[in-house]
Structures are given as structure tokens and as C-alpha cells.
Symmetry: C2
Subunit: 192 residues, 2 copies
């Protein structure tokens, strides 16, 4: 049996993720990663492949975590308005922690999606998943009489998705949490 890894693969991946999130793909050099992760060049290549592969792995991890979080949240038995209010609040807090690096998914959509097929595929799939999860939760809310049956759950889900994108951009570039919360509150009025 070989020697055991001396660094936690998942933990270092998360550190790389945070660097990419704060600085973007192009603005994060491999030398930056070596310096700030405390792992040698060669070990990074052996463990994660090249820079693109590392980025994609980090992005996939980020998206999966987000999907899991949303799915769990939407399964809670609370009223849909309460659930969505909490969800937006959580997202705003998460995107504004430690400065305002914004959302890795949104940053990837802007920086890489148009030129990198793998990234585009990842975010497109996530968008569909997001919309499906929300649409089915909203449909259930309609059956329970929580929101009007005349509304289109898919359109509502897409609207909420677009709202999340806007909040992520604003949190990265403007960083005013109070106005983000107010926007979330107004956005959820579409349910009324």
C-alpha cells in the first residue's frame, strides 16, 4: 500500500473553489493556487488534473451542494412563502459572506459559459434542475391552495431563478445586503 495523502482532497478543493469564486478562472493563476493552497504544483496536477479540470470539479461540487440544499429546503413542510423567504435569506447571506465574492455559478455563467462547453453544460443542467424543483414545489403549493391556481408554476420558477442571478451579481459588485433583502421580499410578491 502506498503512502497516504497528506492533505485533505476535499478541503483543498474547497479552498480552490473559494479562490476561483473570488477572482474568476482567468484571474486565478496556477501559481496563486500553489501558493495559497499550500500544496505543490505536481500534487495538484496528480490529484485534480489541469487547471480547467480543477475548476470544473470545483464548480460541479458547488452546484451539487446548492442543488442538495435547495432540494432539502423545498421538502420542508412549512408554507411555501415561509420556505422561499428563508431560502432567499440563506442565499443572500451565503453570497455576501467574506467580502462579496458572489456566486461561483453566476460568475461562471458570465466569464466562461459562452466559451467553454463543459461549463455551459453544467450550468444549463443546474438551471433546469433549479426550475424543475421550484416548479414542482409551486405546483404542490397550488394543490394545497397556498397560491392561486391561475399562475404558471414554470414561469414563476424561471422568474425566481432570474431573480437569484440578479441578486448574485448585485452582491458581488454592489454588496448592499439591505437592498438585496428588500428585492427578495418584492420578488416573492409574485406569489400573491
Amino acid at each position: 500500500m502506498p503512502r497516504a495523502k497528506e492533505f485533505d482532497e476535499a478541503e483543498v478543493l474547497d479552498q480552490a473553489l473559494e479562490l476561483f469564486r473570488a477572482r474568476g478562472f482567468k484571474h486565478t493563476s496556477f501559481a496563486d493556487l500553489v501558493d495559497e493552497l499550500g500544496v505543490s504544483r505536481q500534487s495538484l496536477y496528480d490529484t485534480y488534473g489541469d487547471k480547467q479540470a480543477l475548476y470544473h470539479t470545483a464548480l460541479k461540487r458547488y452546484l451539487d451542494r446548492g442543488t442538495d440544499f435547495i432540494r432539502r429546503k423545498l421538502e420542508e413542510p412549512a408554507p411555501v412563502r415561509k420556505t422561499l423567504t428563508d431560502l432567499f435569506e440563506d442565499m443572500i447571506s451565503a453570497n455576501c459572506e467574506c467580502g462579496s465574492p458572489g456566486c461561483l455559478m453566476v460568475n461562471s455563467m458570465v466569464e466562461l459559459s459562452p466559451h467553454d462547453d463543459a461549463t455551459r453544460a453544467l450550468v444549463l443542467e443546474h438551471a433546469r434542475t433549479f426550475e424543475n424543483l421550484f416548479a414542482s414545489r409551486l405546483s404542490a403549493a397550488q394543490r394545497k391552495g397556498e397560491i392561486a391556481k391561475a399562475k404558471d408554476p414554470v414561469a414563476l420558477a424561471q422568474f425566481l431563478y432570474h431573480t437569484v442571478l440578479g441578486l448574485a451579481v448585485a452582491s458581488r459588485a454592489l454588496g448592499d445586503q439591505a437592498s438585496l433583502r428588500q428585492t427578495a421580499r418584492l420578488a416573492l410578491q409574485v406569489l400573491d
Copy 2:
């Protein structure tokens, strides 16, 4: 008197703007600019300064054009709902033309704002201008009885601004115009 410039300074600047818009700052090399603008390196440096200066000039031009457009539109005597509906429609069409390069301002907010003070200052000022223009138009609409007086015009303006950001991201990465229009329609329901 010296020799006259052989290229249209404003026209070439617009071409550079489109390149930056489609590919971002880091992904657009100076060699790309030389190749695709049909102007020599030296002339570009003499006319616009270095790459950063060229980008900032292009971004400023883009923001100013956007502000002018919005200001003119909001001054029209039409009802506020009709005006905003048209405005969103125009923005969606403009952001989705020629592929989906998205919005140079939003792209700059994501790629450069956190690391480039000049860019951050430009977009922050634009955000304030946008919100002020919208807030005062909404206040006027309240005085005319077009929308309820109980609503906060500033909060509504910020909500609409955040909505625009989200639509720009979605148009760049997803490019589904139909869902963008539907989102715009739902967003404007906050006025009801």
C-alpha cells in the same frame, strides 16, 4: 496641420466594445484587438492608451449610452407600465442580438468590479443613476395615481435594477428570450 486619422475613432471604439462584451477583458488579447479592428498596435496605443484605458473608455461609452436611452424613455408621456414594458423589451432585444454577448456592464461587474477600482466606480455610479431615474419616474407615477402610494419608489427601483442584472446574466448564458420576456412581465407585477 498633421495628417488626418484614417479610421473613425468612435467606430473602432464600438468594435472594441463589442469584442470586450463578447469575450470579457482578460479573454480579449491585444493581438485580438489589432487583428479584428484592423488598426495597428501603435495606433491603438496612440489613440486610446493601453488596454485598460481602452476598456474603461468603451465601458463608459456603453454606460452613457444606456443612461441616455433610459432617461429619454422615462421622459415619454406614456403610462408608466407601458413605458417600463417597452423598456424591458428593448433591453432584452438589445442583449440578445448577435448571439448572446449579454450586457457589458453586468459582465464588468462580475469580471472586474471586485478588483478594479475604476470599473467599480463606473458601475456604482451607473447603478445610482439608474435607481434615481427609476425612483423619480415611479414617484411621478404615484402622484398621477398610476401606482399605489404605499409602495416605496426606491425599493421598487432597486428591484427593477436587480431584475435587469438577472436578465443580462440569463441572456448571456442561457439565451432563451421567451422566458426572459415572461420574467419581465412577472417582475412588472410588483407595480400592481
